[in-house]
Subunit: 342 residues, 2 copies
DNA sequence: GTGATGGCTGTAAACGTTTACGAGAACGTT
DNA sequence: AACGTTCTCGTAAACGTTTACAGCCATCAC
C-alpha cells in the first residue's frame, strides 16, 4: 500500500523549478546559492524524497555493502564476531550482507563468484575448511577480502587469526601447574582449520611439558557442537581415565562435564576441565568453566578495520595479524576454588 | 590486485561480434540462434563475465535483498531466528542484509527511512519496544514489512507472533500440576514487548489457577541477560521464598539456578525452575531446564515466507499468524526425574 | 512471384544518479 | 568601458543492464 509514489531527482527538480544537477548538488552539500538550496530542500521535504541507493551505487561503482561469510552461524563465537563486525562497518557507513555458507567449501566458491557481481565492496570470510580451489578463487578475486583464520597456502591477503597453538599451551600449562598429569583432549573435526590447529597445539604443549603423548587421550568430535561433544566425551572416558581434559570449545566442555557428572565423577576434583573461546556459556555453566579466550570479538574488530582500511586504500601493504589468547580461570580447573564463584 | 578488469556486456558483445542486446538475451536464456549462443558463451567465458548486480537492480527496480532488523543480536533466540530466515530467503534467491538496530527505537526509525533508499525489497522487523512514532513510520513505508512480535496499535501488516500468554500458562499449569504452590516470576524489562506480554500471561495464569497474586513474587530484570538475571534472582529470593520460579528467558533461568545453588538450595527439590525459549542452554544446563518453546525458528520461517509471498504478490491480504507454544519438560521442574537426563 | 508470417537480431531508450563542461551573470580591476 | 575572475547553474553524458520496437531475412502459401 504505497502511500506516496517513489519520488526521484526529476520530480524534485520540476517542483523546485531547477535542474536535476542542482538538486543533486544540494542533496550532496555541494556549493549552491541560498535561494536554490531553500527551494530544493522544500521540494524534497514535500515529496519525501530520499536518493536511490541503487542508482547511486551504479554511478559510483560501490555499494556501501560488506559481505560476511562464516561457516557455522550456529556457533556462539561466530555470533559474537558477527555482532562486532556489524557494529564496526555500520559505523563506517556500510551495510552488512550475511552470506551464510554451510561448511561445504563449494558454497564459498559460489559466494566468491557471486561477489564479482558486485553486490558488495568487500568480503570478510572465515572458512572452516580450506581447499586448493578456494585458494585459487581467492587469488583471482577482484575485490578486497579479509580472511579470519588460516590462509590457504600461497594466498596473500589481509588476515586475522588467533594463535590457537599458544592458546592450547596456556590451557595445558595451567593444568600442569595445578598438578594434573593425565591431560586428555577433546577436539572438533581434525579436518577443519581450527581442529587441525588445536590438535597441533595440544601435541606440542604436551611435548614441551615433558608429558608423554597418548593416542587414547585424544578424541575428535564430529562437530563443534554439544551433541557431538557428548559422544566424544563418552568415548574418551571409555578408553582412558584422565585427571584433566582440554576441550576445543566451550560447548564440548559443557558436554564433557555432563558426561563426567553422569558417571559419578566430580569437576574439578576428579577431572579438571578447560574450555575454549570463553563464551558466555563458560560463565553460565555449573561449575563455571576455565576457558581460553581466543579474543573473538577483538579478532572480528581487527578484521573489519582491516577491510575498511583496504577499501579506502587498495594499495596498502597486506597485513596479517595474530591475536594473543588469554586464559580465564574459573572453577572447573581449580580445586577448592568453588567459593570464588560469582 | 585486480587480475582482470571488470568486464561488461559491451566487452563481451565486441568480442563475440554481436550486439549487447544479444548478449543480454543469451545470458538470460531468451531465444537466440545456436550460433549466437555459442559465440556469446565463449566470449563470456574467456572474459570471465558476470552480470553486474547493481545495474540489474537499477533496471529491474528490485535488489534481491531482504533486510532483517532484530533489536538484540546477542540473544541466542534471535540468532536462531536469523539463521532460519537466512536459510529461507537465500533459497529464494535473496540476500540477507543485517540491520542491527540497538534497543533504541530511534534506530528503527532511521532504518525505515533508509529502507526507502531502496537498498532492499522488503524488511523483517522484530522491535523490542514499540512507540507511536514507529507505528507512523511503519504505516508510511512503501516497502513490504513483516513484523515479528506485537504490532503497534493501528498498524496493519503481515505479522507473526508467539502466544506468550499461553506459553506462561503452560509453565504455571505444569508447575501447579507438580504440586507447586508458591510460583514466582522473573521477568525481563516490563516496558518491552515480550516483557509486557509475559507479565500479563503470568498474572492471568495465576488467577486461572486460583492462586493469589503476590507482588513480592515477581521481579523484572533490567535486561534479558544472564547478568541481569543474577541480580533479579537475588532480589526475588530476598523478598520471598517460592517453591517454583517461572523465568521469562532461559538465560534468566540459568541465572536463577546459579543463585539458588549459591544459597544452598536445590533445583528442583527446593525450587522448581521453568525457563522460556527452549534454547540450547536449557538443554546444556545442569540440571537441564524445563522450558517453554516459543517456536522461534518456526516463527522465523513463517515470517520469511510471509515476506516472500508478499514480494511476489503485493496485493495479498494481510496475514497475522500466531504460533502455539509448547512445553519441553526437563529435570529442573520434576523431582526424582534426574535419571531421565541425557 | 508476391505477400504474409515468423524468427533473430540490432538500435535505442530507460532505470536514477553523479559530474565534466560550458554558458551566463555578477563582480572587481584597469 | 572593456576585460578577466569567480561563482552558479543547466545540459548532457555516463554507470551496466533490460527490453520495446523495428528491421531483416527466410520460409511458406497462394
Amino acid at each position: 500500500m504505497p502511500l506516496t509514489k517513489k519520488s526521484t531527482l526529476v520530480l524534485v527538480a520540476e517542483r523546485a523549478g531547477v535542474s536535476i544537477a542542482s538538486v543533486s548538488r544540494v542533496m550532496n552539500g555541494l556549493p549552491a546559492s541560498q535561494q536554490v538550496i531553500d527551494r530544493v530542500r522544500a521540494a524534497a521535504d514535500e515529496l519525501g524524497y530520499v536518493p536511490d541507493a541503487t542508482a547511486r551505487s551504479l554511478k559510483a561503482g560501490k555499494t556501501e555493502q560488506i559481505a560476511l561469510a562464516v561457516a557455522d552461524v550456529g556457533n556462539p563465537v561466530y555470533v559474537g564476531m558477527m555482532h562486532e563486525i556489524s557494529r564496526v562497518v555500520t559505523k563506517a557507513g556500510y551495510r552488512l550482507v550475511l552470506s551464510s555458507t554451510g561448511s561445504d567449501p563449494l558454497d564459498q566458491i559460489d559466494l566468491l563468484t557471486s561477489l564479482n557481481r558486485g553486490f558488495a565492496d568487500g568480503l570478510i570470510l572465515s572458512p572452516l575448511r580450506v581447499t586448493e580451489e578456494l585458494g585459487q578463487q581467492l587469488r583471482a578475486s577482484r575485490l578486497p577480502i579479509v580472511i579470519i583464520g588460516s590462509l590457504p597456502p600461497g594466498v596473500e591477503l589481509d588476515n586475522v587469526r588467533a594463535d590457537s597453538v599458544r592458546g592450547i599451551a596456556l590451557a595445558v600449562d595451567h593444568l600442569a601447574a595445578q598438578g594434573r598429569r593425565r591431560i586428555a583432549f577433546i577436539n572438533g573435526p581434525v579436518d577443519t582449520v581450527p581442529g587441525a590447529a588445536r590438535l597441533n597445539g595440544y601435541l606440542r604443549a604436551l611435548t614441551e611439558q615433558g608429558h608423554p603423548q597418548n593416542a587414547d587421550a585424544q578424541v575428535g568430535a564430529s562437530d563443534f557442537t554439544y551433541r557431538a561433544g557428548l559422544k566424544a566425551a563418552a568415548t574418551l572416558l571409555d578408553q582412558t581415565t584422565p585427571d584433566a581434559i582440554v576441550c576445543a570449545n566451550d560447548l564440548l566442555a559443557v558436554a564433557a562435564m555432563k558426561v563426567i557428572s553422569k558417571r559419578g565423577l566430580r569437576v574439578p576434583d576428579d577431572i579438571a576441565i578447560v574450555g575454549m573461546d570463553d563464551t558466555d556459556i563458560a560463565d553460565l555453566a555449573q561449575p563455571s568453566i576455565t576457558s581460553v579466550d581466543l579474543r573473538s570479538t577483538k579478532r572480528a574488530r581487527a578484521a573489519a578495520k582491516l577491510l575498511l582500511r583496504r577499501l579506502e586504500n587498495p594499495q596498502a601493504p597486506v597485513e596479517q595479524i595474530v591475536i594473543e589468547p588469554k586464559l580465564t580461570v574459573r572453577a572447573s580447573s581449580v580445586t577448592g576454588a568453588r567459593e570464588a564463584e560469582l
